[in-house]
């Protein structure tokens, strides 16, 4: 009961702040004012070699606003401002800064708030079960206990695990409200908890090998047991012992779910409306065409209960909806907010995200490569020769051309078996060719993060190593 009451009180307090921000900006001459208020608390406990290393705890609140000043027929002048000062004086300064900057910026014919008819009502906002009071109630002692258990499981798994970068248990809860002069108001809140265990082992020649494993969920009950995370972290780290380069060659590349997720993130950035109208993506003018192998279907689903990226409404107040982005390899849509939609002559896909600093841009929610029917083990077993990638390094992706070149480490596959660990090689190709070259999609999807993928295999890439 008390939980319901405090939610109601928080919602009312955040809306009231939002109303005051909108009113202050309007009074200074803003034709459109959209306020965002974020409030949150977090606790993080890190243990290293069995002893507490860091306990961090704090709450914070911030306000942000986007204002638009209409300039006749020429369009709107737009600016944003944010502050951690939520006092009356802070609100006044926030509104002044934003309106002053809006007058400095120049009219943009494509700028403007979303059509009033598209705005959702609060009564339409479904409860996505994103908040778990159990997570919110975790104290320092409990967080330390989880971290200690996780690390102890890693250290105890094998005598060769002698060192550790530590284990960290974190919980965060946050609430966010949006109030706009167009009449929209929305409130949401959620929790997130995670445990990461990072053992270190000694290798030949003074080298060390570090690895990790993690679990993260919105609800406490969904977390993997500490011992499972710790043991798996130890297994992953030990498996890297003796890693070496392999010869430069063309070969098949299998990406484990974490590595595959990173590729999916590149796809997401390449179909974001901002990248498209700026012509800064290799996927400009590709709607309706094949951009990936027929095995690839990618869905952005903000309505998944307990999903890490779930939201009932988007950052501009449009009702969230499930978007099939890639269907059997064909690109069906770009991620669009109101602005990028207008720039491209399309309709918003309800993909607007509003950051705490007031700025708005398109984003993904739960962006998921739909699992296939092949198990991860079968993918390895069916690979004659190739690289199984567990980690990638660096920023080697050119969004304009799609060129991809990154550091990689993992295992060498020979005759369907992982043989020895590999490090210090790069894998290169072009994202367009890579997505089209996916010839196996695994069945092993775990929704730990808002961008998620099962194991995938790409038929051929260039691996650069020795020689």
């Amino acid at each position: 009961m008390s939980d319901v009451k405090s939610t109601e009180a928080q919602r009312a307090a955040l809306f009231s702040l939002g109303d005051r921000i909108v009113a202050a900006a309007r009074a200074l001459g803003a034709d459109v004012a959209e306020a965002v208020i974020s409030e949150g608390s977090h606790l993080s406990a890190k243990v290293r070699l069995g002893e507490p290393e860091l306990v961090e705890e704090a709450g914070s609140r911030s306000i942000g606003v986007r204002v638009m000043v209409k300039d006749g027929e020429q369009g709107y002048r737009v600016a944003v401002s944010y502050s951690s000062d939520t006092s009356e004086q802070g609100i006044a300064r926030l509104a002044e800064d934003a309106v002053e900057l809006a007058r400095l910026s120049e009219p943009d014919a494509f700028a403007g708030p979303p059509e009033a008819s598209l705005l959702s009502k609060e009564s339409e906002h479904v409860d996505l079960d994103l908040f778990d009071p159990k997570v919110d109630g975790i104290d320092g002692a409990m967080a330390l206990r989880h971290a200690k258990n996780g690390e102890a499981a890693a250290l105890g798994a094998d005598p060769r695990v002698t060192n550790s970068e530590g284990a960290t248990f974190s919980r965060a809860s946050g609430a966010k409200a949006i109030v706009t002069s167009g009449g929209f108001r929305g409130y949401s809140r959620g929790t997130y908890a995670s445990l990461t265990v990072s053992p270190v082992v000694d290798d030949e020649g003074g080298k060390k090998r570090s690895g990790y494993h993690w679990t993260a969920k919105r609800h406490y009950a969904g977390l993997l047991p500490d011992e499972v995370v710790g043991k798996e972290a130890a297994r992953r780290t030990l498996a890297k012992l003796g890693a070496k380069k392999v010869e430069t060659q063309e070969c098949a590349v299998v990406f484990d779910p974490d590595a595959a997720r990173s590729l999916l993130g590149l796809l997401a950035s390449s179909i974001s409306g901002g990248a498209i109208w700026r012509k800064s993506s290799y996927l400009v003018d590709r709607i309706g065409t094949e951009i990936a192998s027929p095995l690839v279907t990618v869905v952005d689903d903000p309505l998944l209960p307990q999903g890490p990226g779930s939201r009932a409404f988007d950052g501009e107040g449009l009702l969230s909806r499930r978007n099939v982005v890639v269907e059997n390899g064909k690109l069906l849509m770009y991620f669009l907010d109101t602005y990028s939609a207008k720039k491209l002559g399309l309709a918003s896909t309800a993909s607007a995200s509003r950051g705490g600093s007031g700025g708005v841009g398109p984003s993904t929610t739960n962006f998921i490569l739909q699992p296939g029917t092949t198990s991860a083990e079968e993918i390895v077993a069916s690979t004659q020769r190739g690289l199984y990638v567990t980690d990638m390094m660096g920023f080697g992706f050119n969004a304009v051309t799609g060129d991809f070149s990154r550091g990689a480490s993992g295992f060498w596959i020979e005759d369907g078996k992982k043989t020895f660990p590999v490090s210090e090689v790069t894998i290169s190709s072009n994202l367009d060719a890579m997505l089209k070259g996916i010839d196996l999609v695994g069945s092993d999807l775990d929704l730990r993060s808002a961008i998620a993928s099962p194991t995938i295999r790409i038929a051929s890439m260039t691996l650069a190593g020795s020689g």
Binding site: V80, A98, G407
Partner: protein, 477 residues
């Protein structure tokens, strides 16, 4: 301090923090038995301007204020922060941080102000300049880039400005303030020809005001970005495999930052998780290499007058003629290694605890003629511009990506190459530095370093460098 924005905790602010209040808060922080505590007050104002499609399309400003309280007990740290300088809120944060300890401990020492150098005096902060002047600088870049070549189809110019006021009080008796200005200009252009689209960019800045543009004008950056984009229209696939690589002076310091810099941050060595652990006094690079962390370079992006734990950094030799001399220290690591504070304890904001971090990392010049270095390469790569890098501390493997590079054939720089990654192992690559130019250059202020989720501005500098073998991650056999 700007005319418009005054740190609330400064003596003429709305909630001035004097020695008495700081001492009271430190006493609360140590009330449960901590060994050491510090207070980190921070007031930061940021501004951003984005010019696109011939108009100033976006403008933004943000203000953040807070106090971070840290309490150390043995190897453990308690950390809490608040965004409100009401005494109750600050005491609450101090009490939460204090909970890391439960017995024993030390009492705080009376606070004495310490003097600091002045490495980035600014006569006029960019915040005190009318917004229209900043818009005009961006417009000039836009106009210049478009005028240079009809194939330039898009131009994006941006300016970010920041002022960070900090006040640090420590339980061992120091109280110190600093005012850290920072600006960063960026320009990105796209060239199109026969359906091909390629990007080029240029940027810079540092701890100064708009006087930055007296050294490098918006037009200069336009020329540089356009040159790169047009060059890239002809870029071909890069080779794959181990070969000789020559790095241009300046931004190539990124290699140094990744290959040795991070591995020499003391926390990794204290925890024995770095591959440079226990190697002080040993050879870790070719004898040509002398590596220095230098926080004193005037107006450089990575320079600081005082670190975020109240210590003044100087110029520290990390590697001397290939021999490892020492690590970059924060307080906790200094105590562990029984060495003086090196002033490398930095944090992203009041919401974060300090970590050993680089400031400006330099590989000192050698004696070779840069042209001779290129001439000495039979088949290899000349690396001119970089997109960033990353390192695995535990084994020293690092990558960095090239956004502008060329083939070297028989000692001559020839065809431009598409974006490509280099991968190597830090200690291995540093031993393969076989030539160093006499042409030292400091990167223009664009680099930001990330560690444990915290970002801080850094600088890098180096001469022309030849590496005898490193793996180039292209696609051509």
């Amino acid at each position: 301090m700007t005319h418009r924005y005054t740190a609330p905790f400064s003596s003429n602010g709305s909630s001035p923090i004097d020695t008495a209040i700081a001492e009271r808060l430190l006493a609360v922080a140590l009330s449960r038995g901590g060994d050491y505590a510090d207070l980190f007050f921070e007031y930061e104002v940021s501004g951003s301007y984005g010019y696109e499609e011939g108009i100033l399309k976006s403008a933004g400003r943000g203000v953040s204020l807070g106090l971070g309280v840290r309490v150390r007990k043995g190897e453990a740290t308690g950390y809490a922060y608040c965004e409100d300088l009401a005494i109750e809120a600050m005491e609450h944060a101090a009490k939460i941080a204090a909970q890391i300890a439960s017995e024993g401990g030390k009492k705080p020492v009376g606070l004495q102000p310490i003097s600091t150098p002045s490495r980035y005096p600014v006569s006029e902060l960019s915040f005190d300049v009318d917004g229209a002047a900043k818009r005009e600088l961006l417009r000039r870049a836009d106009v210049a880039a478009r005028a240079l070549d009809p194939r330039i189809t898009r131009v994006e110019a941006s300016l970010a400005e920041q002022i960070r006021e900090i006040l640090i009080a420590t339980s061992d008796g120091k109280i110190v303030t600093d005012s850290q200005p920072l600006i960063r200009f960026g320009l990105r252009v796209i060239a199109e020809e026969n359906g091909k689209r390629r990007a080029g960019s240029s940027g810079g800045g540092g701890r100064l005001g708009l006087s930055y543009f007296e050294g490098k004008s918006p037009e200069w950056h336009a020329g540089e970005a356009v040159r790169q984009a047009l060059t890239m229209l002809d870029a071909r696939e890069a080779p794959a495999g181990e070969m000789e690589v020559v790095l241009a002076p300046g931004d190539s310091g990124i290699l140094l930052h990744e290959a040795v810099g991070h591995g020499l941050e003391a926390d990794f060595n204290r925890k024995k998780t770095s591959n440079y652990t226990d190697q002080v006094g040993q050879r870790v690079a070719s004898e040509l290499c002398t590596v220095v962390d230098d926080a004193t370079i005037p107006h450089s992006r990575g320079s600081i007058d005082v670190d975020d734990e109240g210590n003044v950094p100087e110029k520290a030799v990390l590697i001397e003629k290939g021999i490892l001399r020492g690590y970059m220290q924060d307080r906790q690591s200094s105590e562990h290694f029984h060495v003086p504070f090196s002033g490398n304890g930095r944090r992203e904001s009041f919401k974060s605890h300090p970590l050993p971090r680089m400031t400006n990392t330099l590989l000192l010049a050698g004696e070779h003629d840069p042209e001779e270095i290129v001439k000495s390469v039979k088949k290899g790569i000349f690396a001119k511009k970089f997109g960033g890098g990353q390192v695995d501390i535990s084994n020293g493997d690092f990558v960095f990506s090239l956004t502008e590079s060329y083939l070297i054939e028989d000692g001559v720089i020839t065809a431009p190459l598409k974006d490509v990654n280099l991968i190597g192992n830090g200690p291995d690559v540093m031993r393969k530095v076989t030539m160093l130019g006499r042409d030292m250059e400091l990167s223009d202020g664009i680099w930001t370093c990330g560690k444990d989720g915290q970002s801080v501005p850094v600088g890098v500098a180096c001469p022309t460098i030849k590496i005898s073998a490193i793996t180039v991650g292209g696609t051509q056999r």
